[in-house]
């Protein structure tokens, strides 16, 4: 579906799997019917690229993080802006907690400001919403590309440009764990997605690999190796598959793969770490991936501005290696 004028940055399904939210560099997050790709509406108000979003469990509220240094809360149905959080630097990652009462937000390093992780309380009634932060963690070097809640909102997991995954105490802000440098990623981590039950998560990196970790202990469980830098990752909620989407080194933009429609979303067997197939179609690197919670379809968003919706045919569910 073509709804964005500029490259896609993020995709998110709601819990029921009937809505798909897309974010792009064009300032306007969009919502679509997850079934047929029909566009329902757009959320206007941001003045910069929108990097990520999350939707509440009841599908009533949407939160978006943007390069315009704000994070906005929206009414999903009406598209109305409910609240704007202001920051001193571009906002990047946003994630609702279990229960949707808190949100964790990351901001980029900007001028003298380092990157940071902010926890905001989300009021039930938008009129009672305040700007106050529950917690601010001053970040490590470089951009924090993703920060998400751990089980029971007790921890926050962050990953970014410095390739190190960190686990923080969500109440005190103390650093609890760091991923092992030897076995961890060697280049910037671009993406992170949690399993349906939050027990494990998948990270994708420019080092051409994706890694699977246990959320509670930060133990490295699996590594998936591919040929291209990884920009986006997704895990099937139904089968033991992980999907990686990638692109090319920025330095190689003019000299690489420009075969029409041949950028692939690569499927791997989650347990055996072997590639099982790929889905082609994008005209540029893939920047976003998301699985429908029912596991029967997934969507990919590309540098080419397209969102591609894929419904699996019956054979997919019978794949055997």
């Amino acid at each position: 579906m073509k709804g964005h004028e500029r490259p896609l940055t993020f995709l998110k399904y709601n819990r029921d799997g009937d809505l798909l939210f897309s974010c792009a560099k064009d300032h306007t997050p969009t919502v679509w019917f997850a079934d047929n790709g029909e566009r329902l509406g757009t959320y206007r108000g941001h003045n910069g690229a929108v990097w990520s979003c999350d939707v509440s469990r009841d599908s009533m509220r949407l939160i978006t993080g943007s390069a315009d240094q704000t994070v906005k809360l929206w009414n999903v149905q009406t598209g109305a802006q409910l609240y704007t959080f202001n920051f001193g630097s571009p906002a990047r990652s946003v994630d609702f907690s279990v229960g949707d009462k808190l949100a964790v937000i990351t901001t980029d390093p900007f001028m003298e400001l380092t990157s940071a992780i902010h926890v905001k309380r989300i009021a039930r009634d938008p009129t009672e919403q305040t700007e106050e932060s529950e917690l601010v963690i001053k970040g490590p070097q470089g951009r924090i590309n993703r920060a998400v809640w751990g089980p029971l909102n007790r921890t926050i997991v962050s990953a970014g440009e410095d390739a190190v995954i960190r686990i923080w105490d969500s109440e005190t802000g103390k650093l609890l764990r760091e991923a092992d440098k030897e076995s961890g990623h060697k280049k910037a981590i671009t993406s992170l997605t949690k399993s349906a039950d939050g027990s494990h998560f998948l990270t994708g990196s420019l080092d051409k690999s994706a890694k699977l970790w246990d959320t509670r202990t930060l133990t490295l469980i699996k590594t998936y190796v591919t040929e291209r830098p990884v920009n986006a990752v997704a895990m099937s909620p139904l089968l033991d598959h992980v999907v990686l989407g990638g692109g090319q080194d920025a330095s190689a933009v003019t000299t690489t793969d420009h075969r029409a429609g041949k950028f692939e979303a690569k499927f791997f067997d989650k347990i055996l770490q072997e590639e099982i197939g790929g889905v082609k179609g994008h005209f540029g690197p893939i920047n976003a991936l998301a699985f429908n919670p029912d596991g029967k379809s997934f969507s990919s968003g590309g540098e080419d501005g397209y969102v591609r919706l894929h419904h699996f045919d019956p054979d997919y569910f019978n794949i055997k290696i």
């Binding site: 819990r15 029971l152 919670p293």
Partner: protein, 651 residues
């Protein structure tokens, strides 16, 4: 380490006097004649190179006030000094004064020679390693060398297990590239100070090194007896051509058999047309494995040397007015040479076959209206194809025809072949190795045609006939299997790696495949496997694929910064043609044994595979139950966070 090894050879003797020569036997003159003599000397020596400022010194006897009869001349580079010594030593200034020229450093060297002769020490005999050991691999595998990043690795191609097996690896093994000797015995590496060869089945010890500072290119003789090394140096006068140094070494002893020094003009090859491929090697070897001769193209001549004495046959070059290209038969001492048209059509172009060492002309043919010419020998020296581009009557365009010489037949008959559409551009041509067929890629469309011809058609033994034309192929390069019969039609560069595996006996396609962005294709020496690779010309997708001869992808290896892939060549088989035929006839009997082995290996593989998978699944199950347990424990807590909302645990 390599560095101190080379210092032994006194190569970079930084005495500081490497650019100085001593010219002796000069006339002894009084003061009045100093200037005149100096002027004469300077005139002679500045023709050869640029004499450094204040570089000419004629010492004077303080008592007699006359010159001492010799002088020192300093140039900017040692190459100029050496050239001056070569060119002027023995020069007759007049009857009484014949220049004796030496390198300044040589004086020191010769003074050090002891007066008493002491017999050389006899070193105890240490048996060398069996350099052919790799050929006796039980699994009949082939080796290849790859260079990626700073590593050079030699690996076995274990196609049965669909993987490689390491043989030897070394970082910074070479300073630029590596090259196998023609029969696979040695691996040569190139360094600042010269070249070196390494060998053995797995050990790859350094066997010999050859001093040649700043060497850029190397070439082995076909029988691996000699190694030719080449370097090119900037002249001190920028308007001159580069200085070229070529050395020929005996591979086993490391002894330099002959050196050639001169200006790049003398060693550049070819004139306006007809240079088939690169200008290296400058010296082309002839006479097949016996490596009896080597020859170089010169101005209006071909200089043919023989390896008994390393001098020109009959002490003179073969004079051929205007010759622009030549090539040896791969098996016999025959040279095919091409002379282009002269004098606006007065003298037609011609192709000549000359036999060495006698220099008899075996055959020649005049060709009219030729614009360009390329020569292609068949691997057994049975045929020579000359691709001749001719001008049309209007001279505005060209069309191509082939002159096909049947070398082994009496009187060497020549046949002329034109393509069905003679205006088609010829993109590639290749003889079937050891066979009687050839393939041509031709046409002006974005997807050209590929045609196959045979010199021995079934109907008429004496005439060339077309077998078939494949239309509209995405191919621009031809790769025959070394044993013939099969060919890979490859679309490199613009076609981005299209591959078609074609059976020429049956004239049918066995498989089409793609190795995206492939830059190189190479058959293994046995013709069983094909390696395609993407080198660092491209930023991404570097690495290589191994295919079976019929186009099945066996495995692929990715390696960033991939520079070279070279199969290790094999020496020719010792089996007689009769024995080979017998084996082919009784193949079933021989193959039974190997089939059984193959079965065993594949069973073992599955077993290993299954075991590995079982373990992975077991390990995973442990995690899954751990997570389930934690989820259960936290269930109540989670509900609280959601204000009592029960049901699914999903977020």
């Amino acid at each position: 380490d390599d560095d101190d090894v080379y210092h032994d050879d006194q190569l970079e003797f930084d005495s500081g006097f490497g650019n100085v020569i001593v010219v002796d036997n000069l006339p002894v003159v009084p003061r009045e004649k100093f200037e005149k003599l100096e002027g004469v000397i300077r005139k002679i020596y500045s023709q050869i190179g640029v004499i450094k400022e204040d570089g000419l010194w004629m010492p004077v006897d303080p008592e007699t006030k006359k010159t001492l009869g010799y002088c020192f001349i300093e140039y900017n580079t040692p190459q100029e000094a050496e050239l001056a010594k070569e060119k002027t030593h023995g020069y007759k200034l007049d009857r009484a004064h014949i220049f004796a020229v030496n390198m300044f450093d040589d004086f020191d060297k010769y003074m050090k020679v002891p007066d008493e002769w002491a017999p050389p020490e006899i070193k105890p005999y240490t048996p060398g390693e069996n350099l052919q050991k790799w050929l006796a691999d039980e699994k009949a595998r082939d080796q290849f060398v790859i260079r990626a990043g700073t590593d050079t690795e030699v690996l076995w191609n274990d196609a049965r297990q669909s993987k490689t097996e390491p043989v030897y690896k070394r970082t910074y093994w070479t300073e630029s590239f590596v090259q196998w000797s023609p029969m696979g015995t040695y691996l040569a590496t190139v360094h600042r100070q010269g070249a070196a060869v390494w060998g053995g089945a797995n050990t790859f010890n350094r066997l010999m090194r050859y001093a040649h500072p700043q060497v850029k290119l190397i070439d082995f003789s076909p029988g691996e007896k000699f190694l030719v090394t080449y370097s090119s140096h900037e002249p001190s006068n920028p308007r001159d051509a580069n200085r070229v140094v070529i050395n020929i070494f005996d591979v086993r002893t490391g002894k330099m058999m002959r050196d050639f020094k001169g200006s790049a003009d003398e060693f550049a090859v070819g004139g306006a047309g007809g240079v088939a491929g690169n200008s290296w090697p400058v010296f082309r070897w002839g006479g097949g494995k016996e490596e009896k001769y080597f020859a170089k193209l010169g101005k209006n001549m071909i200089s043919v040397y023989e390896t008994e004495t390393f001098s020109l046959i009959d002490k003179k070059s073969l004079k051929v007015e205007n010759v622009v290209d030549f090539s040896w038969s791969p098996t016999d001492p025959i040279i095919a040479l091409f002379v282009p048209e002269l004098g606006g059509g007065n003298q037609p172009a011609r192709v000549s076959l000359v036999q060495m060492p006698g220099k008899e002309e075996l055959r020649q043919k005049n060709l009219f209206s030729i614009s360009d010419c390329k020569m292609y020998w068949q691997s057994n020296g049975d045929y020579l194809a000359v691709k001749a581009d001719r001008y049309t009557k209007t001279k505005k365009s060209t069309y191509t025809g082939f002159e096909l010489f049947r070398i082994k037949e009496r009187d060497i008959p020549i046949e002329v072949l034109e393509l069905d559409n003679k205006n088609d551009k010829i993109i590639a041509f290749a003889w079937e190795p050891k066979g009687h067929r050839f393939a041509v890629i031709h046409g002006d469309n974005p997807r050209p045609d590929v045609s196959f011809y045979s010199m021995r058609s079934t109907h008429n033994l004496g005439r060339v006939a077309k077998l078939t034309t494949l239309k509209g192929k995405q191919a621009n390069a031809l790769f025959w299997s070394p044993g013939g019969r099969f060919i890979v039609l490859a679309g490199l560069k613009g076609f981005n790696g299209q591959l078609e595996f074609f059976n020429v006996d049956e004239l049918e396609t066995m498989a089409t495949a793609e190795h995206f962005m492939a830059t190189d294709v190479e058959w293994d020496p046995t013709g069983r496997y094909v390696a395609t690779s993407v080198t660092s010309v491209h930023e991404m997708e570097n690495g290589f694929n191994i295919w079976s001869f019929n186009g099945k992808l066996l495995y692929r290896i990715l390696k960033d910064h991939f520079f070279q892939f070279l199969w290790r060549p094999r020496p020719p088989s010792f089996l007689t043609p009769e024995k080979e035929e017998e084996i082919a006839r009784n193949l079933k009997k021989y193959s039974k044994k190997y089939e059984a082995e193959d079965q065993d290996v594949s069973m073992l593989l599955s077993e290993q595979d299954r075991e590995k998978r079982r373990m992975l699944k077991e390990e995973w199950e442990k995690w899954v139950s751990e997570w389930r347990r934690a989820q259960e424990e936290e269930k109540l807590e989670r509900q609280k966070l959601r204000d009592g909302e029960a049901s699914d645990e999903e977020e």
